[in-house]
Symmetry: C2
Subunit: 329 residues, 2 copies
């Protein structure tokens, strides 16, 4: 049974509840893989978990954060056919990714392209799987769709922006910070919407010739709900993946019916193994070739050493990062 270094959450609160320690990692069972983690991406969910608002799902280590990682295969369990020792892999996890070793099922793992930097790879899974699942799998994004991406300068936002451009959709990106819109313009965003007073519906309709957004990727929740229903097009689909602007909001069901719109709630973390495996396989086939070709690329704000995890939390909470923070061993 290997021992791993790991970030530990010793209570619920500020960054002082984070510390480095050691954990026991079990041997990989049948169909499982032991991965030596090179780096793990930081996510807002890690901050929520640190504060005590987002506990790990059942069956996941409760006091080690980390929802994504990249590394190399250290050992394989009985019957594993997909991977060999030494291969580079990445994945999302329900928790525990900020440890130097983690055990995963072989079907959850996504192969990292040959020669691809593992610290870069660690910035891919959470944001690109989230954006891909929400936009492509759930909302059926395709050519010609007007796609409104809230928090477009975030990790998920920049991933979604790239996916929309790849698929021939037309991204519209919102942010409360002009500097983030400017950075997104460099990534190809032509229609930035600076959100003031939490309004954006009118601007969205103007930019789409009155039609509104066929797809909305929402990370804000309650505070944007009414405006989202004003911004959405007839037959539009809104995928809510975050609630940074609150949980309970007033829904105008009249608009929902008149527009025949759909609201979809989505999270990755609590999904069952088979759902994560399906998503990993789809992503491997449809999206990974574009990383290998360099067409898609994670936007990385900084790579920091794992023992700087508290400082990384502080930077993310200051809302001044553009793209991902990665923590490396």
């Amino acid at each position: 049974m290997p021992t791993a270094r790991a970030v530990r959450i010793t209570g619920a609160g500020g960054v002082d509840v984070l510390s480095l320690g050691e954990i026991e990692v079990r041997d990989p069972g049948p169909g499982e893989v032991l991965v030596r983690v090179a780096a793990a991406g930081l996510n807002r969910a890690d901050i929520l978990q640190r504060k005590g608002f987002y506990p790990a799902p059942k069956g996941v280590v409760a006091d080690v954060p980390g929802l994504e990682y990249a590394g190399s295969v250290e050992a394989v369990g009985d019957g594993v056919t997909t991977w060999q020792v030494g291969q580079h892999v990445m994945a999302i996890a329900g928790g525990g990714a900020m440890a130097s070793y983690i055990v995963a099922h072989e079907r959850e793992l996504i192969g990292v392209p040959d020669g691809y930097d593992l610290q870069r790879a660690a910035a891919i899974p959470e944001v690109f799987l989230t954006a891909y699942d929400a936009l492509c799998v759930q909302a059926g994004m395709t050519m010609g769709d007007n796609v409104l991406l809230h928090s477009v300068g975030s990790g998920v936002g920049t991933a979604a922006l790239q996916l929309a451009l790849q698929l021939g959709a037309r991204p519209l990106g919102s942010s409360r910070t002009q500097a983030k819109l400017d950075r997104c313009a460099e990534l190809g965003l032509r229609d930035g919407i600076l959100v003031e007073d939490a309004t954006f519906a009118k601007k969205t309709r103007e930019l789409t010739g009155g039609a509104g957004a066929d797809i909305i990727l929402d990370t804000v929740g309650a505070a944007y709900l009414a405006e989202n229903l004003g911004a959405i097009a007839r037959g539009g689909r809104m995928v809510v993946i975050g609630l940074l602007g609150g949980v309970k909001g007033t829904a105008n069901l009249g608009a929902l019916l008149a527009k025949r719109a759909t609201i979809i709630g989505s999270v990755l973390r609590s999904r069952a193994l088979e759902e994560k495996a399906v998503l990993a396989q789809l992503f491997t086939k449809q999206v990974m070739p574009l990383f290998a070709a360099g067409t898609l690329s994670p936007v990385i704000d900084d790579v920091m050493p794992m023992d700087q995890v508290a400082a990384a939390h502080t930077r993310m909470e200051a809302n001044e990062t553009f793209g991902k923070l990665v923590l490396a061993w």
Copy 2:
């Protein structure tokens, strides 16, 4: 240009704004069919339209109500290949169905089985197309689904109940009236939920072993929104097709995300021709054989003469009907 008898809405208000009159009906154009209407079903939407709350969509006669009809082909326009004079057909309409003649596109029309009574047929299109579209096309109902049907004693409710039973799903039906639940039990409903104080989530979870409803067909809207999010299962889909309980409600997006649930707003009336045609063709193939075989059957409260339209409105508004009211010429 034929002249038709028709129900007219002469203003917005009580049943006294309804009167019988005459209208001009245009000749069928290319691809169109002139139908001699035998009977038209009455819907709650007709009452809303009479009150001035639900005007006809663009391109539809504004002062003649009626959203469904059955009749016989009187004449066909150029290029019509599907129908011949004398054949029996039925359809939904954006309005104008309470006239003795109506023009429709040939692809919107659904064939009435040989020997099937046209007054019975007139009770089929609106409720069965609505229930079929919501449950089967949009929510993907199939075997084993727990399906919560609100207002199960209504026209749409009894149609949905029959479709759920046909498909091997398990219907749960709610009503505020025990007598309607008793009538539905005769149609095969085993899990009736008597709604008191607008609560039903706890009972739904109890009846489904804690899982909740995979699909909810909602006709109530705001007043049921919070309870619906409590009653829905992980991955569940709620189709909102009516707002009898109000338009604006508080949505708990936290529950929506945690359950990865979907809310879909749906109306038939304002759909474009091609959407109605697709639905009519799907319905013809998948559902009509079950009417021909007698396995599905519209639940009809009463057939009244068309000149009793005001009395029919009054009966529907009293909320004491079980199944459809049909108005016959």
